[in-house]
Symmetry: C2
């Protein structure tokens, strides 16, 4: 009897732990805002947990793979696997399902290009999500364009945001921001999970930003070997390395940090590749097909992660091309890194650096911004609260950056 009691007591303690673990999940899950039409899963609760549910009657093991962790799901008698993650940060996250070792998209979510594949995404509601909400305000357009690139000898796709009044007054000309995605992403990112168009529509409706055009191209360019213009030989020592952000994605083979052909501060090989498309093909295309103000003072460049590093090296190599520079989760940039700083100083207006608060680089940007203020170019740093190397940091960065552009 004694033993039996002991066992029961022990079982009670165990069950208590289990019950505690279960009640810790708040049961207020709602379908994610980026689900496919009429799909009930995935869901998100007020803690930021992601719950997925998928019919897989004959699978032996199904997992939710999000935020670098895999969570085991449980199967019910109908063969439906369900389970949830630990709480996630506010904002957008890529994720996938793992079914008996196969990584597949969740059939319930919309799909987004990231991590070098089209895959599932989820939106954890954020306290500040109003700034990119779809509202009944005047809306700009997101235009898919094809143009011929002489550099790549191919027709390329580019997305262009035009502000709400672009088609109203056909005499007016607009400034332009060239805005880049991160590694493993493409030209669709800013107009989809980035909500650049809605951020701008809302800023313009609130009178907080000057209307401007945004150009979004794919800067993950691998030229055929013979076609790479001015590339350093592979393996050649780099005289300088860009200030890589902690937590930045690892370089893929053939895309790693190297040294650009221009200027001692180097850059990335992939910057040199995209630089030719941007400078020789894309900017001329935009300036002859859109009503833009085609001078340095009305041209900005920005990007996230790899896109910000590309921005930096392209600005270094072309100090008279852009007046406004934005680097989101892309390290630091200081005046001493531009050889021809005098050229940039003539029309340089702004260097903006941001990081998610959970990224290691966040602490280093205020001092770097101060270096710009010392030479009378506006330096601004911004830290996105409680976010990591993710899209919510970059949406907020654009929201902070855009109002600083093209103001007299």
């Amino acid at each position: 009897m004694k033993y039996k009691h002991l066992i029961i007591s022990f079982a009670t303690v165990l069950m208590g732990s289990v019950c505690f673990a279960q009640t810790a999940v708040v049961e207020d899950f709602k379908p994610s805002s980026v689900n496919q039409p009429d799909k009930q899963y995935p869901q998100v609760n007020s803690e930021g947990r992601v719950r997925v549910s998928v019919l897989a009657p004959h699978s032996g093991r199904v997992q939710l793979d999000i935020g670098g962790k895999k969570y085991d799901l449980k199967k019910d008698t109908a063969g439906v696997w369900t389970g949830e993650s630990a709480p996630q940060d506010e904002g957008f996250h890529y994720y996938q399902l793992n079914m008996d070792g196969a990584s597949v998209p969740d059939p319930g979510s919309l799909y987004f290009y990231g991590a070098s594949r089209w895959g599932s995404g989820i939106e954890i509601p954020s306290k500040d999500q109003d700034f990119f909400a779809l509202k009944n305000v005047p809306h700009g357009q997101l235009r898919e364009n094809q143009y011929y690139s002489n550099t790549t000898k191919s027709v390329r796709r580019v997305y262009i945001y035009t502000p709400p009044d672009y088609d109203k007054d056909t005499k007016k000309r607009f400034p332009v921001l060239y805005l880049q995605h991160g590694m493993g992403e493409n030209e669709t990112g800013w107009g989809s999970q980035g909500h650049a168009n809605l951020i701008m529509d809302n800023l313009i409706a609130d009178g907080k930003a000057v209307p401007f055009i945004i150009v979004m191209e794919n800067s993950s360019v691998n030229f055929p070997r013979g076609a790479r213009p001015g590339m350093r030989p592979p393996g050649a020592p780099a005289p300088g390395q860009p200030d890589a952000a902690p937590g930045a994605p690892q370089a893929a083979p053939g895309q790693g940090p190297g040294n650009g052909p221009r200027g001692p501060m180097g850059g990335f090989n992939f910057s040199a590749q995209f630089e030719r498309i941007l400078i020789d093909d894309l900017i001329p295309y935009i300036e002859s097909n859109y009503r833009v103000l085609a001078d340095q003072q009305h041209r900005a460049m920005a990007g996230l992660s790899m896109g910000g590093m590309q921005t930096k090296s392209i600005v270094i190599a072309n100090p008279t091309k852009f007046s406004y520079v934005g680097m989101f989760s892309s390290g630091t940039f200081t005046p001493t890194e531009i050889t021809n700083i005098e050229a940039f100083k003539k029309n340089g207006k702004l260097v903006f650096m941001s990081f998610g608060g959970r990224e290691g680089g966040a602490g280093r940007i205020p001092a770097a911004a101060e270096e710009w203020n010392k030479i009378s170019i506006k330096g601004v740093s911004y830290v996105s609260p409680e976010t990591a190397h993710e899209w919510h940091s970059w949406r907020r960065s654009l929201y902070q950056f855009a109002p600083l552009l093209f103001k007299k």
Copy 2:
């Protein structure tokens, strides 16, 4: 010994059959043109077979689900499942993988909206694929717009194709085609798997079509119960039924054939719902935000499958709104089906009906077209060779239809 020989002979015959079955697959597979970047699978061979390959080391059964059939894949020692389908028709097909009973997208393909979900698609190269190929010709734009619909009390998304010279001559006004998708599809279909933009760019470059604007909205509309304008009560008998296409998708619950509120020929409930958005909100939005010729003679409506049936019932209910009518795989349409045929006759210019050659309806459209010619409205029928109720029939239909529009 005798038995042993017999067994060996029998085994040889069996193995012969197996070898024969294997050699019947032509080994000239190439990655599909609609794969994700750098993905080697799915592949297609010269017979039109689809080969998929997916890592799923612990799965018990993986199948390729295409064209209404499931094909078992085979696992190699590395845990990669590979296999192929029977030959498929030329053109685009939706498909999916089935892993231990779970239906999931193939991680290698791009994703398309059809069958009421975002899922995999494959392109079987076609002899005539040049007509929708991406070429170095002047390109129009595919514009994502948001507009407010008073009917649904919400901001809705619409895609708009503008021809290459739309932004060149800002004095010129253009005719407009309202172009609808099929059941289980949405406003992305024509600009993605339909290649409406590339079809038009190529036709215009060849001087075969007058430049016009195409408006692509989502006509799969379910109003909230209280908000449905002029709906017949559920279950009320329908005095007439549209001429449904054999092979047309089954109606989903709540979307089945009913009867429109206008005219004795009826229509679909979902036509009545979309009709209000189109007539009351979308056409006025287009006509006040784009440089269009805003009269019946410069307005066309067309659609595929359900979209063609909606076109028919909307034209019947609004005989002075559109001069050109296109129904792709949507049954037949004859003058006796319009109550107010005199109103339509004043400006009616064209009724175009098409089917895939493998669809049952193909034989019925020439006679229906002849009925229109008898009353001096051009009637045209077109049958797409060797295709079924699929996008290649509809791409070809648009290619045949577009040159007939808006010519003096």
